[in-house]
């Protein structure tokens, strides 16, 4: 694991309510290598966004990282000082969010929103404007010199998402975390944004992408490796071809069946019976057992851990330990 750019070990992040605790990220381990596109896939409420935000500790006041390590270039982000962490956010690790409509400051010109990042991390150099124009060009925004002076409301959703990607890229980070970057966009625009992200990772040496999605089609098209997340836990890890050819965990299998039967209502995935459990009081043993067609007595008693199964890893009692 020494070639990992990001190495997350046994991460737990809980939300503390007035009377209950939401175990949104519960013992999650994952890694991203240099130049790799890694996916996290799972239904709504499985803790994908919570995981993403934990990685650079972009958490609301009621959230706490309870335990675990987030190793990045020799630093443990889980315990790093806030001031040190700010030097990493936007510079080393940046984020692209789900709904581009609401993630730009409505009162600030596009150019200023980009140059703000660059001057924060690289200082106010004389070629600042050139760098800003370059970042807009890098995300294929037509006539970037003009767009500099636009306000967010003057751009379409797809263009806004390109601007957000330009901001994320502007300081040449080693990792971009994209949390459902296309979910809020028109179908035709979705393809363009994904294509853009893919090209960027291919072209920029040293850039990795952690892509969060609930769309297996996106995973197939974009990712090298995938983590399947369910109820705050990773239930399967596999390279993309193994995942689609031989899904190991019954949850992954169910996701694939649902995706293949193309039951999409709006953009929500349907087709797996039941819902993601309440994370304040998750089921005992394997959290998927109440919805699992192969459930055995042990599944509700003991929690399975991730074990190697061929080229994949899965946490399921169907697979006996060697």
């Amino acid at each position: 694991m020494s070639d990992s750019l990001l190495d997350v070990r046994n991460l737990r992040m809980y939300f503390y309510g007035s009377s209950q605790v939401v175990r949104a990220v519960d013992d999650v381990s994952l890694s991203v290598r240099e130049g790799e596109v890694v996916g996290i896939v799972g239904e709504s409420g499985s803790g994908k966004t919570a995981t993403a935000l934990s990685l650079i500790r972009l958490l609301p006041p009621n959230a706490r990282i309870v335990s675990g390590e987030i190793l990045h270039k020799g630093k443990n982000l889980a315990s790093l000082e806030e001031t040190e962490l700010r030097k990493i956010r936007g510079a080393e690790i940046s984020m692209v969010f789900q709904d581009p409509m609401t993630f730009l400051d409505p009162l600030m010109k596009i150019g200023d929103q980009i140059s703000e990042s660059i001057s924060l991390h690289q200082g106010k150099t004389s070629d600042l404007k050139v760098k800003v124009v370059d970042s807009l060009r890098a995300v294929s925004i037509p006539s970037p010199e003009k767009v500099l002076d636009y306000y967010p409301h003057q751009l379409s959703g797809g263009m806004k998402q390109r601007v957000l990607i330009a901001i994320a890229l502007s300081c040449e980070p080693s990792l971009i975390i994209a949390d459902e970057p296309t979910t809020a966009l028109d179908v035709t625009v979705q393809g363009q944004i994904l294509e853009l992200l893919k090209t960027l990772v291919r072209k920029r040496r040293g850039l990795s992408l952690l892509l969060i999605t609930h769309d297996l089609g996106v995973v197939a098209e974009m990712c090298d490796r995938v983590y399947v997340m369910y109820a705050g836990k990773i239930v399967e890890e596999a390279d993309v071809s193994s995942l689609f050819k031989e899904p190991k965990h019954p949850y992954t299998q169910a996701l694939l069946t649902a995706a293949n039967s193309i039951y999409f209502v709006g953009r929500e995935m349907v087709g797996i019976e039941g819902v993601v459990p309440d994370l304040t009081n998750p089921p005992s043993g394997c959290r998927f057992h109440p919805r699992c067609q192969y459930a055995m007595p042990i599944c509700s008693e003991k929690e399975p851990i991730l074990i190697d199964i061929g080229t994949s890893r899965a946490a399921c009692w169907l697979y006996p330990k060697k």
Binding site: G90, S94, F103, D105, P106, L107, L120, H121, H153, I167
Partner: protein, 328 residues
């Protein structure tokens, strides 16, 4: 698309000014009717209780009270367009020149109160919103509630008792020390010393109001998604709050402050009276006691136009700061 053209802004200002005309006209009509339809003999009101019948007759002719109401209305409009707001029998001076004399003192008082109250109120509101339900937030809310519900004439008297009479730190009343002939900087310092208490007392309500509004508006903005995006860029909380969030949160506050300017003027009447501040408010108070109607209604006209102007300026600022507002 693109930035805003200066000519578009000019157009917008002119259009908003034109929209102000009906409002001012309505004020003038109301003002006129207030005198014309006042129960009793308007000549009696204008001349005062001890007027002789001859004097009353004279008043009727001067004011044309013997002529039909629409003729009088046009005369009244004509006079106002020529800057003639009538004559004060009590002060023995034309109302226009009275108002012009007293206006600077009032503007100084209101301006000082407003600027200081805005700075303090905005700071309090922002700091409270940064940590909702913290001790800091609780203190701001309590201070805000207290300031909101304390009558300023009472607060004024209390302040005079404490700071002027007991501690003798500040002058009791007035705008200048009458017993001394001061010049230059000494004069300015003397006026400032007189200004401290009335401006503070007048500002307390505004601080309370602004802090409360700013807190709410700031909380709203800090919940928005783009704040998360700013944090993901690596910006410090302070620059997120003061550079981005404040700009977004201050606009609604500004509008309410402008709307509330009439409450501030009402407060000024009381505060000027308590502190014997030689401004419009004090003058109106004296005029009300003396039944000096031309002064009261004349001030009403001037103040109304002032309020319309303040709201216009606010709208223009709003449009300048917020690119989403189109100059329709």
């Amino acid at each position: 698309m693109g930035g805003k053209e200066p000519s578009a802004l000019a157009n917008y200002v002119v259009r908003r000014l034109l929209e102000g005309i009906p409002v001012v006209f309505a004020v003038l009509v109301l003002n006129f009717l207030l005198i014309a339809l006042y129960p009793g003999d308007p000549a009696q009101i204008l001349a005062g209780q001890e007027a002789t019948p001859q004097y009353l007759q004279q008043i009727r002719i001067i004011y044309g009270l013997d002529r039909p109401i629409y003729e009088r209305f046009f005369d009244y409009l004509w006079a106002i367009f020529h800057g003639n707001l009538g004559y004060s029998f009590f002060f023995q001076e034309p109302v226009t020149s009275l108002i012009l004399q007293k206006l600077p003192a009032t503007l100084m008082l209101l301006g000082t109160a407003m600027v200081i109250a805005s700075l303090i109120g905005i700071l309090m509101g922002v700091e409270a919103a940064r940590k909702p339900h913290s001790l800091r937030d609780g203190v701001v809310s309590a201070v805000s509630l207290l300031g909101y519900s304390t009558p300023n004439f009472w607060l004024g008297q209390l302040a005079i008792l404490l700071f002027s009479v007991n501690l003798r730190w500040l002058p009791v009343a007035g705008m200048t020390t009458l017993t001394q002939q001061l010049g230059g900087l000494a004069y300015v310092a003397d006026v400032l010393r007189h200004l401290v208490l009335p401006a503070s007392v007048l500002g307390v309500y505004q601080v309370a109001l602004i802090a409360h509004l700013q807190r709410g508006s700031m909380l709203e903005v800090l919940r928005q998604n783009f704040i998360l995006a700013l944090r993901s860029k690596g910006l410090s909380e302070r620059s997120i709050v003061y550079k981005h969030a404040l700009r977004n949160a201050i606009l609604p506050v500004l509008t309410v402050i402008a709307f509330d300017i009439s409450a501030l003027l009402g407060g000024a009447v009381l505060v000027e009276t308590v502190f014997d501040w030689p401004g419009i408010g004090r003058m109106v108070f004296d005029a009300i006691i003396a039944g000096d109607y031309p002064v009261i209604t004349g001030t009403f006209v001037v103040v109304s136009i002032g309020v319309v102007m303040v709201n216009l300026v606010t709208d223009v600022i709003y449009a300048l700061v917020d690119p989403r507002i189109h100059y329709r």
